[in-house]
């Protein structure tokens, strides 16, 4: 039996869970792309881990659940598992938190989960996410990939957006908003500027 939290009616009349928030974190270029394409190694991202570390870890600490698209999961989960095995790795603190989080991989094709602390979710995206939001606990994290995030945005499931806006234009690439049919207003919550030129923009989705 899941712990239920109160639901509030929204303008559209649908009830939306007041419970846990789904929080997105992504690196973004000035021209609004999150990736140069399927083989993106994120070489366009400004590398300034020491500067942004505290904010990234704060976000991770606010979450105990991690939802991941299947395409990203196959590399992402083993990557952090391996990093977790190296306590002197600069990203160890991230690895520790990601390994500890309860992970849910959204898939229509996989039959069983081959990863630790990870379950598969195969149902309707909106229902599954709202189920998770209605459970008690800390917030829920999503970091990609871009097609999975696009679907979450299209279905208006993301509550908070954390964009690390890099001081670079990449010209073409993948967007997470291209599924929108009309413009979507969001609320600016916080801006943080780093010496490396990255600006962290935090927005809330006001539905």
């Amino acid at each position: 039996m899941l712990n239920e939290v109160p639901k509030i009616p929204t303008q559209s009349g649908k009830s939306r869970p007041r419970g846990r928030k789904l929080k997105l974190q992504m690196q973004m270029s000035l021209d609004g792309f999150v990736s140069t394409g399927s083989n993106d190694e994120q070489k366009w991202v400004t590398w300034a881990w020491e500067e942004i570390k505290d904010d990234v870890l704060d976000l991770l600490d606010s979450c105990d659940t991690h939802v991941i698209g299947r395409k990203l999961a196959v590399d992402y989960i083993p990557h952090w598992q391996n990093t977790f095995a190296k306590s002197d790795d600069p990203m160890y603190e991230v690895a520790k938190r990601i390994v500890a989080m309860k992970k849910y991989v959204f898939t229509k094709t996989l039959k069983t989960s081959e990863w630790n602390n990870t379950d598969l979710l195969k149902g309707d995206l909106t229902e599954e996410i709202n189920n998770l939001k209605n459970q008690s606990g800390k917030d829920i994290l999503v970091v990609g990939g871009s097609s999975f995030v696009s679907e979450l945005i299209e279905k208006d499931l993301i509550d908070e957006l954390h964009f690390y806006l890099n001081p670079v234009v990449i010209g073409k690439g993948e967007s997470i908003f291209s599924s929108l049919n009309k413009f979507k207003k969001i609320n600016l919550k916080k801006v943080t500027k780093y010496d490396c030129g990255i600006v962290l923009l935090v927005y809330e989705n006001n539905f």
Partner: protein, 195 residues
């Protein structure tokens, strides 16, 4: 040398207009903080560059504000004052088709874009040069590396698809962040220079 500054409203996902140039997504409930920022920015310039396509709309809009001269509220008075600035500031319109200018305080530039812009930058004047749009004209300025300062007004809106200003770049372009400032209405202005 005078600088060419770009001031442009841009969505979180990097568009400067809807697919047909729509501007309905933009945040318009500006507080005093951002109005002051824009006025300060404008006080340092004395020339406005315009692409031919947006000139009619731009000049027409501000002319109509002046002709109506409605100063009954603080908002309208500020708008009227700003309209006067827009119309009184000398403008240069880039065109290959027009023969002569039909707008007040406006001259035409018909030569090569880079040469014409560099000629303006080399003119002896205290004030800098500003460009507000449109998307196609700004794209050409960016592609030809003519913008010296970028003032990106990042609106708290995602629009999904629309007009871009960086799409014509062949390579990645790094910029140097000078300042980032947020305003009551939710707009964040990021000020960059080319690296």
């Amino acid at each position: 040398m005078r600088k060419l500054k770009l001031q442009v409203q841009i969505s979180v996902d990097g568009f400067v207009g809807g697919p047909n140039g729509e501007l309905d997504w933009m945040t318009w409930d500006w507080g005093d903080d951002i109005k002051k920022y824009v006025n300060d920015l404008h006080d340092k310039i004395d020339t406005i560059l315009l692409g031919r396509k947006m000139t009619d709309g731009f000049v027409g809009h501000w002319t109509s504000v002046i002709e109506k001269r409605d100063e009954s509220t603080k908002e309208l008075r500020e708008n009227y004052e700003f309209a006067k600035k827009m119309i009184d500031t000398p403008k240069v319109v880039f065109t290959r088709t027009l023969e002569k200018s039909e707008w007040k305080n406006t001259t035409l530039a018909k030569g090569d874009l880079t040469e014409e812009v560099n000629k303006l930058k080399n003119q002896n004047s205290k004030g800098d040069i500003i460009v507000y749009g449109g998307a196609g004209f700004v794209s050409s300025l960016i592609k030809n590396n003519l913008i010296d300062e970028y003032y990106l007004f990042i609106n708290p809106t995602a629009i999904g698809k629309g007009l871009e200003i960086f799409g014509s770049l062949e390579d990645k372009m790094k910029l140097k962040l000078i300042k980032s400032q947020s305003f009551e209405c939710g707009i964040v202005v990021n000020h960059y220079k080319p690296e």
